[in-house]
């Protein structure tokens, strides 16, 4: 019975460590996907020169869920002309729903800032601002990548060690 308990505790704590490591990996993948999305937005503005509702409609056709739904809704809201500001629409459709993804708070905050500077500049300024955001995001992706392997190992080790420690304490 004791042995079974020890095995259970160690397995659970190890699983927690593995899950935390996996979460970091998923966050890294999500950041890369976000960069891909921003590059799609950039391409649509640069080459198709469309208005933002067209840009986001086209982007929504090229991305996976939940982004597909998010950008499709954003495009719909922009076309409606309900009298809301772009910022309000961006925050209520994109930012609110990004909370359900694997992105961290600071990633969402950065994306929110991108929305604050969309639309009212000339094309070159618009592209420059997106480039600036992409540079910043790339830096963060590099940071995440650098820390990723070490952090995954650390979480796994912490999980196993934590389980063993708990077992010792209980015994």
């Amino acid at each position: 019975m004791k042995l079974l308990g020890i095995i259970m505790i160690c397995t659970c704590s190890s699983m927690l460590g593995f899950m935390q490591g996996e979460r970091l990996r998923q966050h890294y993948d999500e950041q890369i996907y976000l960069k891909k999305i921003v590059m799609l937005i950039r391409g649509e503005i640069r080459y198709n020169c469309g208005v933002l509702s067209e840009v986001f409609e086209n982007v929504s056709r090229k991305v996976k869920e939940p982004y597909k739904d998010i950008f499709s809704q954003l495009s719909g809201s922009l076309s409606k002309g309900d009298g809301e500001t772009f910022n309000d629409i961006w925050n209520s459709t994109v930012i609110k729903k990004l909370n359900g993804t694997k992105l961290f708070e600071r990633d969402i905050e950065g994306f929110k800032e991108l929305g604050e500077n969309m639309g009212y500049l000339d094309t070159q300024m618009q592209l420059n601002y997106i480039d600036l955001y992409i540079d910043r995001l790339s830096g963060e992706i590099e940071d995440t990548k650098d820390k990723l392997q070490g952090s995954i190992k650390l979480f796994k080790a912490l999980g196993i060690m934590g389980g063993l420690l708990l077992t010792i304490l209980i015994i």
Partner: protein, 295 residues
């Protein structure tokens, strides 16, 4: 009632007022809405001019520009240099404010102080009566706000409904076809191809080479390059249907770079639109500038 696509570009402050005021109006009663900073809003149409009590400020005009550009002013950068923006539905918004110029060219217009919303009207069948008098290359002449684009659109639709014809339209300002995402929103008949937002001179050659049209339709000829392109299209074996700003044929003949049109007898049919009181009238002339019909 005013069109919904126009309501959605107005500042919130004005939407309810204008809806209430125009409730009893038909869609065609209003031709222009003039918004000026710190001045009353004006509605201009067949019933004359109406002044609304609403005064708009700088902030309201900025708000209207956000809606007009679909929150994407950058996308209208080039159009803004020309002083207007064409929105979905083919409505043209004239813009005035502080001009930023560089090397004698307009770079942009900022601090926008006036907007002139010209509401586009599709009048199906407005050319039905005169279509039998029309042949070959067609030129529609009229001063602004007389409906030359509306007439051109309907002539092209009539041609496009004729078997064996193929119509190509170079819609530089999106006013003829009112394309949205490349798809015409106005009725242009079943045999019509549209190059949306394309400069006239480039577009005419492009259509001639790629779509083998029997007719090419263009709006608002004006420059010498436009006339040269027309000559090439005619040489290439297609007919042209075009519009031009002017009071009359005599008025155009006085303009040096447009004289050539008549000297070379480029067009076979001329349609002059004028206004007598509140009523519009049309006079049709043949190649020899003889009056054929008047409506």
């Amino acid at each position: 009632m005013i069109k919904q696509e126009i309501i959605t570009i107005l500042p919130l402050k004005l939407r309810e007022v204008i809806c209430e005021y125009t409730n009893s109006f038909s869609e065609d009663d209003i031709e222009e809405i003039r918004l000026r900073c710190n001045r009353p809003v004006l509605l201009i149409g067949g019933k004359g001019e109406t002044e609304l009590n609403t005064i708009l400020g700088e902030k309201d005009l900025r708000e209207a520009m956000e809606y007009i550009s679909g929150y994407s002013l950058y996308a209208y950068e080039e159009q803004l240099k020309e002083g207007f923006i064409t929105i979905r539905g083919g409505h043209r918004i004239g813009v005035a404010g502080r001009v930023v110029a560089e090397n004698e060219k307009v770079k942009t217009i900022k601090n926008i102080s006036s907007l002139n919303i010209r509401i586009s009207h599709e009048v199906l069948g407005c050319s039905d009566e005169i279509i039998k008098y029309i042949n070959g290359n067609i030129l529609i002449i009229s001063p602004p706000r007389m409906g030359k684009t509306t007439l051109l659109r309907d002539i092209l639709r009539n041609i496009s409904e004729t078997e064996g014809q193929s119509v190509g339209i170079v819609d530089e300002r999106s006013e003829i076809a009112a394309c949205y995402m490349g798809i015409p929103q106005n009725n242009l008949g079943p045999r019509c191809d549209v190059l949306d937002c394309c400069p006239k001179t480039i577009g005419m050659m492009l259509l001639l080479r790629s779509m083998s049209p029997t007719y090419i339709g263009v709006d608002e000829l004006g420059t010498k390059d436009d006339i040269d392109s027309i000559k090439q299209v005619i040489k290439g074996g297609a007919y042209v249907a075009a519009t031009i700003h002017g009071e009359s044929i005599d008025d155009l003949m006085k303009k040096k770079h447009l004289k050539e049109i008549f000297e070379l007898k480029l067009f076979d049919t001329y349609i002059e639109i004028s206004k007598k009181g509140l009523k519009r009238s049309m006079a049709i002339y043949n190649k020899a500038l003889e009056r054929v019909e008047e409506t």
